[in-house]
């Protein structure tokens, strides 16, 4: 058993509360990604699990035992840092074996484990190089290898790909997914990139201001965001939001937007709302509900295009269209959506569901 349990965990720096009561259970072998904007506390939370930050309140359990007071080295955790944190004066082989050397393992076993990890990560031809002689991607592999050789049940990644360029990032993302598949260690991964979160995670934890905004599988978060923050954070380009008013009329609710009124199934809530629709759910020229729109700009991306539109009272939204639609900036068109793909949020930014749903 090597799951992680966070029970009402709090972190304060002086008067400032950075982590404000986080409850989370991570199952053995699960790949969990902490994601959120900078300053949301995701790295702090990871460092608390690692033991690099003290826990101000609450409890951390690893494999069922309380770990709050356990020093980092005794928590059986391997960690990969954003800056790789390789030891610059040691060659790759010693970098990989240093933890085992510290643990006084026999030299033969260190050699064996280092060779195995290096082969697994395809860096076995670099063993006698220094970190400064490696490319960013190779340094990253060494950093991961250093975690691998320790054969721990628990892996922590702190924004490991953010120093790499786009191509390498994709390559290493695939690599990390492969490692997780083969090693099956419980993994906690911190990133600000929602794309990494979506592709890697079994479950995503979206953090905002030191609290959990939502926990769920990538598709749950995408399909059913619990609040406006998660809705805007997951998905790219981000979800469009239009302000409106929801009024109850008999067995139906009516949503009034700046460009028209739309009948919906009955909601318990009435009042100010925002309507959220993802760019890929907007339909040019159709849909169950429609708005008049003026085309501002068409950005062709090859297989698809982003169409920037002006709707209602001068609010701009983005629609994703397949191929290259035959419209020009300045033209007037109709943009629509299907009600099942629309999200409603109340004035406290919580997601609204129709009665009975």
């Amino acid at each position: 058993m090597s799951g992680i349990d966070l029970i009402n965990v709090v972190k304060r720096f002086g008067a400032l509360t950075v982590i404000d009561g986080v409850d989370l259970a991570i199952a053995e072998g699960e790949f969990v990604v902490f994601v959120g904007p900078s300053g949301c506390g995701k790295s702090t939370l990871l460092r608390m699990i690692a033991g690099l930050e003290e826990i101000s309140d609450g409890e951390l359990r690893i494999a069922g035992s309380r770990m709050n007071e356990t020093p980092p080295a005794k928590r059986n955790i391997a960690m990969v840092f954003q800056s790789y944190a390789l030891y610059p004066h040691m060659n790759v082989e010693r970098n990989l074996g240093f933890a085992l050397e510290t643990a006084r393992l026999p030299a033969a076993e260190i050699r064996e484990r280092v060779t195995k990890a290096a082969k697994f990560l395809k860096i076995d031809h670099l063993l006698d190089r220094r970190p400064a002689q490696l490319s960013g991607g190779q340094q990253q592999r060494v950093a991961i290898g250093r975690a691998l050789v320790r054969q721990q049940k628990l892996f922590l990644f702190d924004e490991p790909l953010s120093n790499l360029d786009a191509d390498l990032r994709m390559e290493m993302r695939v690599e990390i997914a492969r490692i997780h598949r083969e090693v099956k260690a419980t993994t906690v991964y911190v990133t600000h990139d929602q794309m990494e979160a979506m592709t890697l995670a079994d479950r995503i934890v979206v953090l905002k201001d030191g609290r959990i905004a939502q926990v769920g599988t990538p598709m749950e978060l995408y399909e059913r965001p619990a609040n406006r923050f998660v809705a805007g954070f997951i998905g790219s380009p981000r979800m469009n939001f239009l302000p409106g008013m929801l009024v109850r009329e008999g067995e139906e609710s009516v949503l009034s937007l700046a460009g028209g009124r739309h009948r919906l199934s009955a909601h318990d809530y009435a009042g100010d709302v925002s309507l959220g629709i993802r760019p890929e759910d907007l339909i040019l020229g159709g849909g169950e509900a429609t708005l008049e729109a003026e085309v501002l700009l068409v950005e062709p991306l090859g297989g698809e295009s982003l169409v920037h539109l002006n709707v209602g009272d001068g609010r701009s939204i983005v629609a994703k269209a397949q191929g290259r639609p035959e419209i020009r900036p300045g033209a007037t068109t109709v943009v629509g959506w299907n009600h099942a793909r629309a999200h409603l949020f109340d004035k406290d930014e919580r997601a609204l569901n129709p009665r009975g749903a």
């Binding site: 980092p72 391997a78 960690m79 030891y87």
Partner: protein, 279 residues
């Protein structure tokens, strides 16, 4: 900047001219010392710029047991000061640079304040301490006294250097199961090479050249260090002042410093600036 061809030439002449003046200013005393050491007898009082290449001053000084003994003493003192002050400064720098505790910056300023006192102000107090510790007229008294000015400087430089080392490397070592001692020994020390060399070298030079403490705390010839020994070289009669011998001795004493400075010059600069500029 765009200049005409003559302008460029004038510019270059001006720069080399300035170099020449600075070089003359700094190197002439050394040249004079070496040139004088190579003259014998009365020739030393003639103003000639070319040396005679006579080595009898060196023969005389190198056959002088007291001088050789003082060379050895200086070496022992300077090496001990370097070893002790680096050892203590590394430990202090780890604490001051890496561990958060209350009163860290007052301590740093205290170190700075200590190094600001002129030597002469410390002399009588130090004398009492040395007598009380039973170190009077031993090399230990000098090692003890020199640490007063080498330690604060070493601690300052090493602390700023230690602070500039990436924190994530230390954290990686913590996750790898290293104790603080192992972090300092296996991770920080190798990374601090340039800073250690430059601070060590400066501590060596300061102790090697020190005169006032060496004159005060040492009574007998066999415990003297080189600067005092040179000052006390006397001629065969009270009317003869042995300039030649003094110059030869000074030259011998300067050579190791120059050799060391040349050997390590590349580290000295990078060591002293590494702490100052982040990244």
């Amino acid at each position: 900047m765009v200049r005409s061809a003559t302008g460029r030439r004038l510019h270059r002449i001006a720069i080399y001219g300035l170099f020449a003046v600075v070089a003359l200013y700094t190197l002439f005393p050394f040249y004079w010392m070496i040139a004088s050491s190579l003259k014998s007898g009365q020739a030393i009082f003639d103003v000639t710029f070319l040396p005679d290449l006579k080595f009898n001053n060196y023969e005389a000084i190198l056959s002088d047991g007291v001088f050789l003994r003082s060379l050895l003493n200086s070496l022992v003192v300077a090496a001990s000061v370097v070893a002790l002050s680096l050892g203590l400064a590394i430990a202090a720098a780890y604490a001051l640079g890496r561990i958060d505790f209350r009163g860290r910056s007052p301590i740093m300023f205290l170190f700075l304040a200590v190094s600001m006192f002129p030597q002469i102000a410390l002399l009588s107090g130090l004398f009492e301490m040395i007598r009380w510790l039973g170190l009077y007229n031993t090399l230990g008294s000098l090692i003890f006294a020199y640490m007063i000015f080498t330690l604060p400087f070493n601690i300052w430089v090493l602390t700023t250097f230690m602070r500039s080392l990436p924190r994530q490397i230390e954290e990686a070592a913590i996750m790898d199961g290293c104790s603080p001692l192992r972090i300092v020994r296996c991770i920080f020390l190798p990374m601090m090479g340039p800073a250690l060399i430059s601070t060590g070298l400066l501590a060596f030079i300061a102790s090697w050249n020190e005169f006032l403490f060496a004159l005060t705390f040492i009574l007998t010839d066999e415990n003297r260090t080189v600067p005092v020994a040179i000052a006390l070289i006397s001629g065969s009669s009270r009317y003869e002042f042995p300039y030649g011998a003094i110059m030869a001795a000074s030259t011998i004493v300067t050579v190791p410093l120059i050799v060391m400075a040349l050997l390590f010059q590349k580290y000295i600069v990078s060591g002293l600036t590494a702490g100052a500029v982040k990244g």
